[in-house]
Each structure stands twice: as C-alpha cells, then as structure tokens.
Assembly symmetry: none
Homo-oligomer: 121 residues x 4
DNA sequence: GTGGTCTAGACCACC
DNA sequence: GTGGTCTAGACCACA
C-alpha cells in the first residue's frame, strides 16, 4: 500500500479499516487482521498499526479481546457513518464550496466532473 | 491574527498572502509587507514570516529585490489559481465523491446543502 | 569540517551531500545521516542541516520518510547531473569564454593549463 | 540593465565598469559617468553606484577629484588585467576543470561549445 | 531600512 | 529514535 507522506500513516490506516467496515469486507463482530499481520501486509511498523487500532477503539469502532485480537464493534458501522457524516458536513463541504467560489466552479461543472470520474472508474 | 493550532503557522501565513492576492488586496508587482512588519503585525517570529515568504517564492507567487523587499510576481495570481485548481481536482473532488458514495449522498442532496449555506451566509 | 566563511554553511552542506551522492558514497535509495547526527558531526545547528536537506528535497535529490529519515531519491543522481550541467553551460562556460577574450587567452593556452593542473595533482 | 539577483548589484556594476575600461570605452585618465548619472541610467540607488566606485577606487582602477568626478586611473587597465587574470587562474579554471571531470566533459567538447558560442554571437 | 544566516533551545507529532 | 515548527536574539551584507 502506498501512503501519502503528508498525512500521518496511522490515520491513513484508520481510514483504510473504516472503509473495509463500511464496504462490509469486515463484518460486525468479525475479527480483523492482527497487528502483526497488518504490519507485514502494509510494510509498516507494528506501533503504527497499534496506534491506528487504539484510535479506532477509542471511537468504539473496534474492541479487543485480550490474547485473541481485535473485532468490529456492534455499533462500529453506525459510528463510522456518524463520524464520516459529521466530517463531511463540517469540513469537506464548506471547504469545497469556498474553493468553488474562488475557482469559479459551478454546480453544473461539478456534475460533469462527477460523470467523468464515474466513467473512468 | 489568531492561528489554528493544528496547522503550521507559516502555512497559514502562506494561505493568508495567497488570499490577499486573489482578492486583489495585494496587486501584481506591488510590494507586500516586509518580513519585520508582518512579524510585528501578526505577533510571530521573523523567521516564521521568512519561511512563508520563501515558500511563496518557490511557487513563483512572489519574488524579492535585494535590500528592498518582496513583490507580487507577475504570474502570481495565475500560479495561485493553478495550485488551487490542481488541489481541488486531485484531492478535494475525489475525496468528496468517495465520501458521497460511502455516505449515500446524491448530487441532489449536495444542491440543497449548497442552498442552505448560501442562505445562511 | 571547515566552512568557507563567504558562503552560507547550509549551501556548503548541500554541495557536500551532492558530491557524496555523485561519488556513490551515498547510494540510491540509501538512508543518509539523520539531521541530528550530521549536526553533531559537522558541529552546526540542527536547523542548518534541516535547511540543507529541505533544499535537496526541493530539487528531488533526496526524499523523507516520516519518523525514519532522509533517503537518496531514485532520480537523485541524475538530478544532480542536470543541475550541474545546466549551471556549467549557462554560467561557467560563458563566463570563461568572456574572460578568455578579455584576457586574450586562447584555447591552446587552456590546454597547457589543463596539463599543468593534471601533472601537479 | 538587468541584474542577476544572486550577486550583489554593486559588484555587477564593478564588473560593468571594468569591462568598459578593458574595451577602451572608458579611456585612461578619462572621466567616467557621475554617480548620479549612472544611478539614473541603471535605475539603481546612488549608494549602490557609490559603493561600486569606492570599490574600484580601492583597487586603484579609478580615482576621484573632489567636486569634479571619477577618472580612470593611469594604471587602471593593468590593474584590471591583473585582477581578472588572478581570478581566472585561481577560481574560474580550477572550478571548471573540476566540473569537467564530474560532468565527463572533455577538452574536445569545450572546443565545440566555444565554436557554437562564437557563431551565435 | 531590507532580506538572510545561524545559534541554542524548547516542544511537538510520528514511527 | 525521526523530522518539523517556533522563538528570541545576534549578526551580516546589501540598497
């Protein structure tokens, strides 16, 4: 996996796990990869994975069973939705609207970008 | 001026100068405040201002004359637009579209958010 | 290491690192000394080393990994060659030819200087 | 006149005057432009011209008559030749030979560069 | 006056 | 451990 050097790696891993849960790759109450496994898979220090998992644990998205591993919390999916929705409305949207004004981009332009991205992916 | 504690001050100053140019408060080829002046005005160290100015100089947004000061580059305005546009298309947009899919938000929803923000401001 | 008092120390460090790469003392993708290490070794402030490294990073000669260190960029060697070649052709050469005319020195004279220097070294 | 922002302007003016003397545009014992005149002509601060003239005076290349102006010294021409020759041999040449080795440029290559420049000028 | 370099030292986030 | 930000203050060359 390639990481953006401008954002903390552990936060990018948090994102990665969140998306895996949102897309149901990790189901509710299912065990997620161990710290070691993921560290090897992503070619990252174990401490970095641990920090990401602790972060997710603090947000009640995953929980750990001692000696066994980390599991997707029952309320994990909903928690992620809440967090993502809040961030979207409080940061992503205002930020985007501000830039649209500065760059003179209209909602119509947005629509065509949207279609372009959909076609290419 | 109050600074966001989560972002480097010098980058916030970079933003500040860019917006001053975008809004024509600093005109093309006009002299911008000296390092010392701005340091006093913003209550930060001179080195912090200098770092911001050097950053802007690297992006060809401002240039310096020895012993005189910093000036808005002829192509400064366009450079800022290029930078902002690139960031918008490469990061803001894909990020937003991805979140829209995950959060199940449609373009129609976006439109109504847009109108809400416009009314309230 | 002794520094020439007429040139900024950080630029002399830039030169030093470049030559270490050119002479293969630092190999491609190899880690170079940490900011602190080099600061101690050269007896200068950490900020001075950092400034040199940032300069080299801007020229795509080295790159950094968060929390790990600086590494020689894949294209580092070529970049240095490009920079040095450009400087040679745009500055050193025209400067020399101009002086040769003013001082009435011919290409033949140059050849003998060249041989003198080679013999003495 | 356009100045290289990387070198002190007053030194570039020193160069300019030296070349004017070498090419006999300013003859021995002839009066050179007044500080004010040259300042206007080159669009530079008078202090800058003054600094250049004082520098040239220190090297016995020009001398001043109070209330009248600056004049090319009797030994001015020879002085310039000495200075330029010394600099050429001590700095320009070794610097160039060093770069030639690093860049893998031979004396033959130099010859062709030389002819190119002669043709284009 | 202007920008620029450098230091010593503190403090931070990240790996 | 790593890089990075920031400060206070000194000192310099240049216009």
């Amino acid at each position: 996996m390639k990481f953006d050097q401008n954002k903390p790696i552990y936060l990018q891993i948090v994102e990665f796990v969140m998306e895996s849960i949102l897309t149901k790759q990790y189901q509710t109450e299912e065990r997620i990869p161990s710290v070691r496994e993921l560290a090897v898979a992503l070619e990252v220090n174990q401490n970095t994975i641990l920090k990401a998992y602790e972060h997710l644990e603090n947000e009640s998205i995953i929980y750990k069973k001692r000696g066994i591993g980390y599991f997707v919390d029952q309320q994990g999916y909903d928690q992620i939705m809440n967090i993502k929705r809040a961030e979207f409305i409080q940061h992503t949207l205002p930020d985007m609207f501000k830039n649209m004004q500065l760059l003179n981009i209209s909602l119509e332009d947005l629509k065509s970008y949207f279609q372009q991205l959909n076609n290419s992916s």
